[in-house]
Symmetry: C2
Subunit: 350 residues, 2 copies
């Protein structure tokens, strides 16, 4: 029986008013910590975004010839079809080598304060240069990338259109800038954004309950901002260090970047948008179940023991962060020419 049928109209109005007030209070609290995605492409530092540059960046993002072997593109490990990552523990790259850390999603990455698990790249343009050159990933060189691009007249034209005032537009820097421009368009508005924007019906009751727990339990102290994470660094195991199965001892995180003892086992707080579709979890990629990941975070970072219901609510809330990936028309890439460097799958020993 619907309780509203048994109540006088004034009582009903009071109750509904109270519910609305509560929703508004919760939204006000949430807006202190989070922000909805914007409806337009954000500006990035020192790289004006144009339609030409976005189109070029899309082609480069999907072009496997940017790798030495001709096998891997950016999209191989940051696959837009599967949440912007590769759903592997750690990526498989050149020569079937395994990368050291789980590939983070490219979706909404423009809003991260810095890139990579240890924040070693200041922005997406700097990030884009990393995997291309990493021996275990794409194993290419800036010189070979530029030679490959210059061998295809259509790429030359696209770079000219994207960097019209430059005398020498086909460069490794501009390659990275074009990819950054494209990646800045990869925003995924989610039910949580609609809720933040004022639509009470955008999240289920359980998702709203999960948001409350997320705030009350303290998850929000690291996972806040527009990406619910992605902008500051914390020791993994702040309260209680998880086992080596989840936190391998060989990977000291941000310590390698700062060489500061305080940064041992320090990692960037993971951005949580689309987390429900980007298993496995953590820099080690060792945890496949989002419930388990939430439990590990609660004990290791907060020293909290959450009830099964609370964990379930948080997982439900995290589901409200799964957004709509923009429609991407798969690009048609320029054809190679006689001048295009040949792909090589050989593994170089350095």
């Amino acid at each position: 029986m619907d309780f509203r049928q048994t109540l006088p109209a004034t009582a009903l109005a009071l109750i509904l008013g109270a519910q609305t007030a509560t929703a508004q209070d919760l939204r006000a609290d949430a807006l202190d910590f989070f922000a909805a995605l914007p409806s337009t492409t954000p500006a990035v530092s020192d790289n004006p975004i144009t339609d030409d540059k976005i189109a070029l960046g899309k082609a480069l993002f999907f072009d496997p010839r940017m790798s030495a072997s001709g096998v891997f593109s950016c999209n191989s490990c940051h696959n837009l079809a599967t949440g912007g990552d590769d759903n592997l523990e750690t990526s498989i790259g050149h020569g079937w080598q395994k990368g050291p850390r789980n590939a983070p999603t490219v979706l909404n990455a423009v809003f991260n304060e810095a890139q990579f698990w240890d924040g070693r790249a200041a922005d997406l343009a700097e990030q884009a240069k990393g995997p291309v050159q990493a021996g275990v990933e794409m194993a290419n060189t800036p010189e070979n990338v530029v030679a490959t691009l210059n061998s295809m007249p259509q790429y030359q034209d696209w770079f000219k259109a994207s960097f019209p005032e430059e005398a020498d537009p086909v460069s490794f820097d501009n390659f990275a800038k074009a990819i950054e421009a494209y990646e800045a368009t990869l925003l995924t508005p989610a039910p949580f954004d609609a809720w933040l924007n004022g639509d009470d019906n955008a999240m289920t009751e359980q998702q709203v309950a999960g948001l409350e727990t997320f705030l009350d339990a303290g998850c929000v102290s690291c996972h806040n901002g527009i990406n619910l994470g992605g902008h500051s660094y914390y020791p993994f195991g702040l309260i209680e260090k998880p086992g080596a199965d989840v936190l391998p001892e060989g990977d000291k995180g941000r310590f390698v970047v700062t060489e500061t003892v305080d940064d041992e086992y320090v990692f960037r707080a993971a951005p949580l948008r689309n987390i429900a579709v980007t298993a496995p979890y953590f820099h080690s990629g060792k945890v496949w179940d989002l419930r388990v990941a939430v439990e590990i975070m609660a004990s290791s970072q907060l020293g909290a023991e959450l009830t099964g219901e609370e964990v379930g609510d948080i997982v439900a809330f995290l589901g409200a962060l799964t957004g709509d990936v923009p429609d991407v028309v798969y690009p048609i890439l320029p054809a190679e020419t006689a001048a295009t460097p040949r792909p090589s799958g050989e593994i170089m020993v350095e």
Copy 2:
């Protein structure tokens, strides 16, 4: 000076009339051997094509979780961005193993009489089952593919919608049929089709000259039909066997399928649509330059020595076979669940 300005109107009409007649004669000759692509998706045997099935097939075609490692999808080696193939000599697959033969394009493949270089699969559905199971390609098993699909409720729904009358729609057979349905949509109308359909201006003068040479020199005797090849088998080296650099001795072609001595070094005549964008060439993938490929074909298959101009004309004509790939909106794939089999990059020794 335009010669037409110096001629009386009647003489001009006669000359233009003669030109038109010549173009019509050439078109009539060409239509004896070739056919333009249809404007609709062709029917395939025992597999009614529906929109649901096409959408499912597209998802499967792009899903790297159809491989044991989670690294390779159909699109990895038959990349719609680069002419429907991978632009490698031979593909790199599971465990960084090299495949034995150059990956043929998936574009227009529905019109090939049989699939693979040796024609060992009767149709695209049968073909689709091959690479998924090949140890050097995707290294998966039918059981693991079905378990993977069944672990994701959205795939279950899509299979139900695609095979509505079947009690057990999620099967390896239906996986292959959905991929076949999708691939049947991958038709690329080209300038040559427009020309066959009556547009004299669709090909350049050199392309028309190349078509004439293609007919006169005898290329057409193997490369005919809607795909200019792809439907019958010929010994590579009919007149003069090319060197082992181009025709490796270890690969005896269709002999392995028929076990008939006559089929030693016999391969399917390559379909030539989009050949200009699908280097390198031949089953061995050893030739990167289309001019060189044409010269090798002339000497090995026809015993003909073409002039440089004739080769150039044929290459120009082959350029008129580069078509428009249909717009493909990159699919968003179902997310894994706890029941999804984990990817494994391990190399199994059989």
